[in-house]
Symmetry: C3
Subunit: 357 residues, 3 copies
């Protein structure tokens, strides 16, 4: 993909820059950082403080705010929304999938039903009764168990495992190494050993969900584990059996949601957070990094800490804790002062009683 | 698998329900939640509070406690142990493995020895000298390095990696994406760089161990990393080199056990716990979620926090911490009161000394 | 590999032991722990306290310190640096790779360029334009996307995924299940949904980097995510987009580095640590286990806690916190004492004013 200046300006919905009339025509074939860019790259500078970096950049052109200084260097393209516009142009440079068509070395059960224009990589294994929607891409080395369903336009990156009966919606993107539909973690102690509770539910992932690399989404014991529309999940996240992840939820890397918990629509769960089992996080709640959520969180509340409490309370406690070593000294000093006051008072009292006699 | 009412009652060890004589014969072909069930599903209601949910459920039959109310709706099957009985029936619906026989597109070294009725999926790679016990199932995309041993009736789900010389017992279940026998993390700084310490030990996993998805069990530097009989390990758990996991230990998701640590029999390690290296957790100890265990834990003790201490101590400290911001105000007030008392006392003393003169 | 006593002493750079002249010639074909060793094993005993364990070991020979007691049992080989020497010998027993040559069932794009003596396992998939350096080993089930570059002598274990355009240096070792070059986690809320920010940068891994099993190293949004020479990364570690990991950094298991953060050369990040986004950890800094780094850390500083502060401060606060429940009682007692002093003072004052009247 190569874009010239008029094409880029059209994508940015801005007029052509007119200040530099005599330049050679610009050929942009990628995006990059100011530091690493070459002449074919388009870059972004969000504030005027980056003027020096722009000046010394090898970039061919830079999208900048409207009030950005005039300077000698790359072509400047001014926009009232430089960040948003830049990434709109950047989408033009997303490469086409490297997986084209169904590779002869993919292993596809004859009962699987593939939609139009499906691509499946080599050494992918597609089980019996699988249904793959139009234009889906399944990377090399993936395994799709029996009766898995993929909605249209979903992309499964290389080496993903999706177990029996899992259902994914449209336009999902599942990154490499992720395992969907593994057994939930359920056992009952029978006096001698942990007896496995059969895990007979499934996983349902709705439309427009993205799941990062090396995540785990366990099947339900009964019923379903469900991830709702538009939720975005980072790498190495654990979603346990029967949990429910709401619409547009954000789950940052290494977070874990234990069994049967519910995350409300639009909640944001930061990295390395643990949500205990059977807990409900309200819609729009925000959970700070490394927190441990052990109780229900009301809608919209920001919490932090282990156990997680309202972030203001936790921060106030942490601030107080920082004063605690000094406080110990003050308490000791006050104790001495109390003793001293007591002694002085006793002297007065004795004199008083002496003078009364 | 389809079961009728007499068959289900036989599995539950309860008499046939007689209250509803005129019903059509029941055909149960699955288990589900009350909310999602259809007419072919058997469900579970553990308390009478679920009576409304039972009444409105589409389930064909529901296993209920003996004192459950009589109601119009699904067939009720009363049991003194509804939960246990229900999951005993549920086991009948565990589907047969989708992997049958040795796939022609599996890659099996001619020196590997396969037992009776082994199943190996497509694109699995089985190395030289591997020994696979009777009735084992190896999923698509797995890699078993040289001289790996699998005991009878073990199941290795898709895309698992088991490295050279790892030994697994009977009836083990290893979920997808897990890596067994990767190098331990050991280096020595030689003044210029971290020099790799060769990792020449192995991994031994005893009978009836289940390991979740995307876990890591590292080989020992020397000797063995060992997971004993009946231990159950959730997803994304790290077991470092030379650690020893006791019999029937529970390790919940995202926990990590560092090098050379020992977890005693029957201990329960909650999610996101970190066990430091060279630490011993006593048999039957319980470690609360997100704790950091830095010292040995006695048998049977419940600990919590980072660093982990007896849970009572940690909870008492947390309760005290919640009072700390208020305490700071009290200390300041007491300081003022002390000053005021001191001034009043000084006035009295001055008057006294004045009156004495 | 079998070594006799003169060969082992040569590797250890020590003279042949002469005390036991009449022994049968020693054949060492492995290394092991004292407890598990057989007659063909070489072991290590680092202190004289291990004398009993050496005496009862089945080992053929044991490397010991120079002042180790004389005893009947395995051949003792004395060294001024027993640990270092032992592991130098141990390196001789590292087995040759099980992957030899390019397997006929590997799937290699015709445009990929393979160096001399490259080995590629079965069911590995190597994409278009990939360049593989001399003597590299690529395990079974790996996927290398288009234009990936591997430097000479790098080893990619089984079932690793390396996405488009990632560049690895020489002598890198990537363990199984790791995903390199997955999309960074970047979205912008457009009022209705999280809109994906295209992830168009890459991953650059320099020479001599080792990455454990089931890690994730995300590609940069723009520019590069970079791991510098000699960094060593344990299992299940998250390296987010645009982060920079310095030379010889240690990242222990389950740690996570968020977007655009920088870890300085030689820093040591313990297990389950979270580094927030856009944070800089100085060279040589040390971050204690489970810490949450939310602000820049100066070079060389040791920090601990969430949020991470200088370890001395955190430990002092934790020690003070342990005293807090007792402190609450003291404060209450002081409050009573203040009341009592006040009352006594008031009595004196009233008497005084009475006597003045």
């Amino acid at each position: 993909m190569v874009l010239d200046l008029p094409q880029i300006c059209a994508l940015l919905q801005v007029p052509l820059p007119t200040a530099e009339p005599a330049q050679a025509p610009l050929c942009i074939d990628g995006v990059n950082t100011l530091q690493l860019a070459g002449g074919g790259d388009l870059c972004l500078a969000e504030t005027s403080e980056q003027a020096d970096a722009v000046k010394t950049s090898g970039a061919g052109a830079v999208v900048v705010p409207e009030d950005f200084p005039v300077l000698i260097g790359p072509v400047l393209i001014r926009s009232s929304e430089p960040r948003r516009g830049f990434f709109r142009v950047a989408e033009a440079f997303v490469p086409a999938s490297e997986i084209q068509g169904v590779d002869a070395r993919a292993v596809i059960d004859p009962t699987a039903i593939l939609g139009q224009d499906v691509a499946i990589g080599a050494c992918a294994v597609v089980g019996a009764g699988v249904r793959v929607g139009d234009r889906c891409i399944i990377g090399p080395g993936c395994y799709l168990g029996p009766d898995v369903v993929l909605g249209m336009d979903s992309v499964i990156e290389a080496n993903v495992t999706i177990h029996r009966g899992s259902v994914l919606g449209r336009r999902c993107l599942i990154h490499s190494g992720t395992v969907i539909g593994g057994d939930g973690f359920g056992f009952s102690w029978d006096g001698n050993r942990h007896r496995k509770i059969p895990q007979l539910g499934c996983v349902v992932i709705e439309d427009d969900v993205e799941i990062g690399s090396n995540c785990c989404v366990d099947r339900a014991t009964l019923g379903e584990t469900r991830i709702r529309c538009g939720a975005k999940i980072d790498n190495l996240v654990q979603i346990a059996h029967n949990s429910q992840i709401g619409r547009h939820v954000i789950l940052v890397s290494q977070a874990g949601v234990a069994g049967s918990s519910r995350i409300g629509d639009g909640a944001v769960i930061a990295g390395q957070v643990a949500i205990s089992d059977h807990v409900s996080v309200g819609p729009g709640a925000r959970v700070g990094g490394q927190s441990g959520v052990t109780k229900d969180i009301p809608a919209g509340l920001s919490v932090f800490g282990t156990p997680a409490r309202p972030i203001r309370d936790t921060l106030r406690e942490l601030a107080a804790l920082a004063q605690l070593p000094g406080l110990l000294k003050r308490i000791n000093r006050q104790a001495s002062e109390l003793v001293e006051l007591g002694e002085r008072l006793e002297r007065l009292e004795q004199e008083r009683s002496g003078s009364c006699r």
